[in-house]
């Protein structure tokens, strides 16, 4: 049996609010095996975004353990988490989050700057990833010159540039029309076929059907976890 990419045990997260301690996540267990394509669903406030931030090493849990590629990251410090975000996983946001003053190529190359790659390596890797998402010819354009769908492709290229085995996407199609959403989902499916594990959050059932496993959150718990019948081959 292969080592799970993600193993979460009793993961909990509470926030300090004016009304007292608010538990957003109440002891979640989940295992994700290499090569899986999982959609996390649930209404707003169900804890799925909190869960995603924890998976993405953007936040630390208040209880439980999180093993990423076998390493327990629940108690790591900020800088160690930054290194994990940089090398071990790629994160795709709903709002694309590209830096507006930088060319697409520089945006894609940015994670490599933080991992210390030299200029030539950065340039070559960024070009390769832009070509992969079909935007090589816009390498020197600014993000404002291209459409939202194209921006999301650039963001995916950026997430892939350090060759992680895991891509996390938080509502990646939330700001896109249905046609473009379809294209982005096709891209995720292709990446998944190449062996990259994909975990994405969505509240749209249509989008979730692209995944091969659906996990549903409600009130900080996982309420259902099943394989999708309509999963593409």
């Amino acid at each position: 049996m292969t080592e799970p990419v993600i193993r979460v045990v009793g993961l909990g997260k509470s926030y300090e609010t004016a009304a007292g301690l608010f538990p957003a996540l109440k002891g979640v267990d989940l295992e994700v095996r290499p090569g899986e394509f999982i959609a996390i669903m649930g209404p707003s406030g169900s804890g799925k975004s909190t869960f995603m931030n924890l998976l993405g090493c953007l936040d630390t849990p208040t209880s439980g353990d999180y093993f990423l590629a076998g390493q327990n990251v629940a108690h790591m410090d900020k800088d160690a988490l930054a290194v994990l975000r940089n090398r071990t996983l790629g994160f795709v946001f709903q709002g694309f989050n590209l830096l507006p003053r930088m060319s697409l190529q520089d945006n894609v190359a940015l994670p490599l700057v933080y991992s210390g790659a030299d200029k030539e390596t950065r340039r070559a890797a960024a070009r390769e990833m832009l070509d992969k998402v079909g935007l090589g010819k816009y390498a020197d354009s600014l993000p404002s010159r291209i459409s939202g769908g194209q921006q999301q492709r650039v963001a995916i290229a950026r997430a892939l540039v350090n060759k992680p085995h895991l891509i996390l996407a938080d509502e990646p199609t939330g700001n896109l029309d249905s046609h473009t959403s379809e294209e982005i989902m096709t891209l995720f499916s292709e990446l998944n076929r190449e062996g990259i594990t994909v975990v994405l959050v969505t509240h749209e059932p249509d989008i979730a059907t692209h995944a091969r496993r659906q996990v549903r959150f409600l009130d900080g718990h996982i309420v259902s976890d099943h394989l999708t019948e309509a999963a593409p081959a």
């Binding site: 931030n53 993405g56 953007l58 936040d59 900020k78 800088d79 930054a82 290194v83 975000r85 940089n86 090398r87 994160f91 946001f93 989050n97 590209l98 830096l99 003053r101 930088m102 940015l110 994670p111 700057v113 933080y114 991992s115 210390g116 030299d118 200029k119 950026r158 997430a159 350090n162």
Partner: protein, 407 residues
């Protein structure tokens, strides 16, 4: 994260809001410019005073003969015949004394051909020239033998020579001081004004013995009004003065309780206080200029704080894709340092330009030293790091999720 990539990013960020960057830089430009100008002026003033002091001769003091009272009328200092040449010779034997020159001076009328001129006539011995650091521009100085045989030779100061001889070469010519003919054997190098504004070049130097016998006259043979003494160093000045006092008291057989029959004046004291004044002025100017540098630094901090707030989302994105706290800190610190360095460079150029313009238009002495520029540069870098640190740390400590949510 590599420095080169970071410098590029800092450059981009500076270029993103050019007006703001320029205004921020202006604070540093003015601060550094002010420091450079003030230091150039301050050091110029110090240099000018030092020049004047060095023309007077250093570590000098004079011993004046005491006053006397005749029929109830008291003479001033150097009025009585209490010092003599032998006193001078005894002082010369003391430890720490470099030069001793008994002198006798007064204003007398000089005549050459149809010209006449009143100048300060100084009768003295050869060590006088050394003590006062006089140089000989042309001709030669007189020696001890001239003093012994009271020859009628004279050294002219530049002003005197010009007024009496015009364009003629005075060396070898004969002039008269109070009917007595003197052969001019040399012309002294120029010294300019002393601290009181008197022209030091308006002088004639002749052997002491000649001066006493032919020009001034003396109450007793060998008595002098004044002995100039040069001490070894500024530090030994006071000790030497004390030694001279006890030596003279002993030679003049003064009992305990009897007041000194001579006076002593420290010639360097006035010069030193002048030097102290300019030094203080120079420090004051520097301090005032430093305040503007400080204000410039605060300007940088202000803008960097605004910049961090404006770019919160960018910071969040950078953190999300793997920037460590150190990377964000370095990025913002580098921006602050680059702004302050660029401002410093411009300030140096501006300061030098203004200092040179002041020199060209007012003739004020300015001194531009490499160390002043270096200090300004070091201070600017320090200011950049110091005032950039807080905003940079604020940026580095942001929570990635909060930062990403910031609109």
């Amino acid at each position: 994260m590599m420095l080169k990539a970071m410098l590029g990013e800092a450059w981009l960020a500076m270029g993103a809001n050019r007006l703001r960057t320029a205004l921020t830089m202006l604070g540093m430009v003015i601060g550094v410019g002010a420091v450079v100008i003030m230091m150039a002026i301050g050091q110029g003033a110090q240099y000018a005073v030092q020049q004047t002091i060095s023309t007077m001769g250093s570590n000098l003091f004079i011993v004046l003969s005491g006053s006397f009272t005749a029929a109830g009328v008291r003479s001033g200092s150097a009025g009585g015949p209490t010092l003599n040449v032998a006193d001078g010779e005894a002082i010369a034997e003391l430890e720490g004394v470099v030069n001793v020159a008994p002198t006798h001076q007064g204003r007398r009328q000089l005549v050459y051909g149809s010209q006449n001129w009143s100048a300060n006539v100084v009768g003295t011995t050869p060590p006088y020239l050394e003590a006062r650091a006089w140089t000989i521009a042309s001709g030669a100085a007189f020696g001890d033998s001239d003093v012994r045989s009271a020859t009628r030779v004279a050294l002219l100061g530049k002003t005197t020579a010009q007024n009496l001889f015009g364009d003629e070469d005075p060396v070898g010519k004969t002039m008269r001081i109070q009917q007595n003919p003197f052969i001019v054997i040399g012309v002294l190098g120029s010294k300019g004004q002393n601290l009181d504004g008197n022209d030091q070049d308006d002088t004639v130097i002749i052997p002491l013995s000649t001066a006493q016998r032919k020009v001034f006259g003396t109450p007793f043979l060998g008595s002098v009004r004044m002995i100039m003494v040069q001490a070894e160093s500024a530090d030994s000045m006071q000790r030497t003065m004390d030694n001279v006092t006890s030596l003279l008291r002993q030679r003049h057989r003064l009992r305990e309780g009897v007041p000194d029959d001579f006076f002593m004046r420290n010639l360097s004291a006035a010069a030193e206080s002048e030097a102290e004044t300019t030094r203080t002025m120079s420090i004051l100017l520097g301090a005032i200029a430093s305040i503007s540098l400080l204000v410039g630094g605060i300007g940088i901090m202000n803008i960097m704080l605004v910049s961090v707030t404006e770019r919160t989302r960018e910071i969040g994105i950078r953190m999300a894709i793997g920037a460590r706290q150190k990377d964000i800190l370095t990025q913002f610190l580098l921006e602050a340092v680059m702004i302050s360095f660029a401002g410093c460079l411009l300030g140096l150029v501006l300061g030098l330009g203004v200092a040179l313009a002041i020199n060209a238009f007012t003739g004020m002495v300015i001194v531009i030293s490499g160390s002043a520029a270096l200090v300004a540069f070091a201070v600017a870098a320090t200011v950049g790091i110091f005032f950039g640190w807080y905003p940079a740390r604020k940026a580095a400590r942001l929570d990635p999720i909060e930062a990403l949510r910031y609109q």
